[in-house]
């Protein structure tokens, strides 16, 4: 590991840091312990003073850089690619961390290509091996397995961090300094023009606005079994969500899909039924306040982020739960 700084893109949503952003700071702990690298959090947007202060107050942050530019709001991949790349050239990091959010996934790979950096997506662990090489753990094959990506010593690396994999950073005793930086965003990075943008649900309470969501996954076995999820959702006054695998299989419409290729949701309660918890799914729901997992497989990654879990056959548990809720 070089002692070049670690640059974290501190994404935020509605004026507060994304949960994964604070988790990313904690994710650097082992790398910092090994290399002594400084942790720099960059906050991009329009009015970012308040968000910058929130990042500066997190433990493990050495410096916060703010980048304000009109082209950064609303989000488009081109201007963000330009801004993150330009700031990275100024900071010269050995490691860049980007959240594996729906937006982060849209510019991270382009930034890595622009800077010629190695890249690994959806990291759930970040370690340093005996040789001093960075080792990134990622979940693959629908989260059924992990693979380790080892990056040789000095190669600059960009990693996207899966939500829910690390505990959020605590508050620091002294806040880190905040400095403003300028970046250049060329016209070539602004060739995509936003014509219109409307909320997904158009007024109706769909999954992106629901207070409670019951979501079903591949564990349901077939499309017809989604009835179990629908009945539970009615009993809980919840909206119905679906994993990417079930939408890909044609069981549910894309409008219901939660995850990196679907929607991001943040309800008070998220009940995952037969969903293993691939990082690509967690990306869409890890900001939920309370998570309940029902799954036959005790190794399902969803249990790692669940506040309450039932290891059992969903075909026994879910109808029983619906029956008791109706009473």
């Amino acid at each position: 590991m070089s002692a070049n700084p670690i640059l974290i893109v501190g994404e935020h949503l509605n004026g507060v840091p994304r949960a994964v952003s604070l988790e990313m700071i904690a994710a650097t702990r082992q790398v910092v312990a090994n290399s002594g690298a400084e942790v720099v959090v960059a906050v991009f947007g329009a009015n970012v003073a308040e968000v910058a202060a929130a990042f500066a107050a997190a433990e493990g942050v050495d410096q916060v850089l703010t980048v304000s530019h009109d082209a950064l709001v609303p989000f488009l991949a081109g201007p963000w690619t330009a801004a993150v790349s330009d700031l990275a050239r100024q900071v010269n990091p050995g490691l860049i961390l980007v959240p594996a959010s729906i937006t982060g996934r849209d510019y991270a790979a382009r930034v890595a290509a622009r800077l010629g950096m190695a890249m690994a997506s959806d990291a759930i662990a970040l370690d340093v091996n005996d040789a001093g090489d960075l080792v990134v753990t990622r979940a693959v094959l629908g989260a059924r397995a992990h693979t380790l990506v080892t990056v040789a010593g000095q190669a600059p690396l960009l990693v996207t961090i899966a939500p829910g994999a690390f505990a959020a950073s605590h508050a620091a005793t002294t806040p880190a300094p905040i400095d403003a930086r300028e970046v250049a965003i060329d016209d070539t990075d602004q060739r995509v023009r936003l014509v219109s943008s409307v909320n997904h649900t158009g007024g109706a309470k769909g999954i992106t606005e629901a207070e409670r969501i019951v979501a079903g996954g591949r564990g349901l076995g077939k499309a017809e079994n989604f009835a179990l999820v629908e009945e539970l959702a009615v009993a809980m006054k919840a909206a119905v969500g679906a994993s990417g695998a079930t939408v890909g299989a044609g069981w549910r419409s894309h409008a219901d899909q939660v995850g990196s290729t679907g929607h991001a949701v943040s309800p008070a309660l998220y009940v995952a039924v037969g969903i293993s918890g691939a990082p690509q799914h967690l990306v869409g729901m890890a900001d939920s306040e309370w998570v309940v997992a029902i799954n036959r497989d005790p190794q399902a990654p969803m249990f790692a982020i669940a506040d309450f879990g039932i290891v059992g056959d969903l075909f026994d548990v879910v109808p029983e739960l619906t029956r008791q809720l109706r009473q």
Partner: protein
């Protein structure tokens, strides 16, 4: 084949067949079979390209890099309606970095000349979603991700996309790159028997990749099933009725119901 429409390159991946993955419960060893299938998002990308072909007389070239089994998936693409299929034979270099793969694909695309590049949003097996944006970057093209609908008028594309929390419409001029999420109402196209016969007759063009293409700065371990630690209250071996009632008590405590 009409000459005047846009030239479209569709990037395809022959992904690991999810039904060909087995996990040994005790050792955690994951075995991946040799079977490959057309990545679902790429199937939507291909359908989007063929829509444009029908509307504007585009030429559609399906391209895929990978092992031998990739050829079958490319034949399927021809049978579905692609005009040409090119297989970038990477031999057994399955451990290519996404940026190295993107360089190979971008080189091929530049060689052949294209107005529009279409890829699926992600892949179903390794799910990194890196290659598409990296190809766009190397070609100097703007990219639009999470595409659900595409309309072309002259050289201008109007694109519907599912962004985070919003449904957006964006516009961009050719040349450009699109990463397709579902395409036209999530409808795929399927090969006909006649299409399969014609595809076999036409065949897949093979482009061999000379020499090793990897810098060796990244290495990947074989996939392993691994345990993760839980932090919440997890009930195991509890009868369904009791588990359900304990969950309801917990939900009431948290004022969630």
């Amino acid at each position: 084949m009409r000459e005047e429409g846009p030239r479209i390159a569709v990037l395809i991946k022959a992904v690991v067949d999810p039904t060909a993955v087995t996990i040994d419960g005790t050792s955690g060893i994951v075995t991946v079979g040799p079977e490959r299938v057309l990545n679902t998002y790429d199937a939507y990308g291909l359908a989007t390209a063929i829509d444009l072909k029908e509307q504007h007389g585009a030429t559609v070239t399906a391209m895929a890099a990978g092992p031998v089994a990739t050829q079958d998936v490319l034949l399927r693409s021809l049978a579905i309606g692609a005009d040409l299929a090119i297989w970038l034979d990477t031999g057994d270099q399955h451990q290519l970095e996404s940026l190295e793969l993107a360089r190979l694909l971008a080189g091929l695309i530049t060689d052949r000349g294209f107005d529009l590049v279409i890829a699926g949003q992600s892949t179903e097996d390794y799910e990194s979603g890196q290659t598409g944006p990296q190809v766009a970057e190397l070609l100097g093209l703007p990219h639009v991700s999470l595409v659900t609908q595409v309309d072309l008028e002259g050289r201008e594309l109007t694109i519907n996309r599912d962004a985070e929390g919003t449904k957006d419409v964006v516009a961009v001029d050719l040349p450009a790159m699109l990463m397709v999420l579902t395409g036209r109402n999530g409808e795929q196209r399927y090969p006909t028997l006649r299409g399969m016969m014609t595809a076999r007759k036409q065949g897949v063009e093979r482009v061999s990749v000379a020499g090793p293409q990897t810098s060796g700065r990244m290495t990947w371990s074989e996939p392993r099933a691994v345990q993760r630690e839980a932090h919440g209250e997890i009930l195991s071996d509890v009868p369904p009725a009791e588990a359900a009632s304990r969950l309801i008590v917990w939900l009431k405590e948290k004022r969630l119901i």
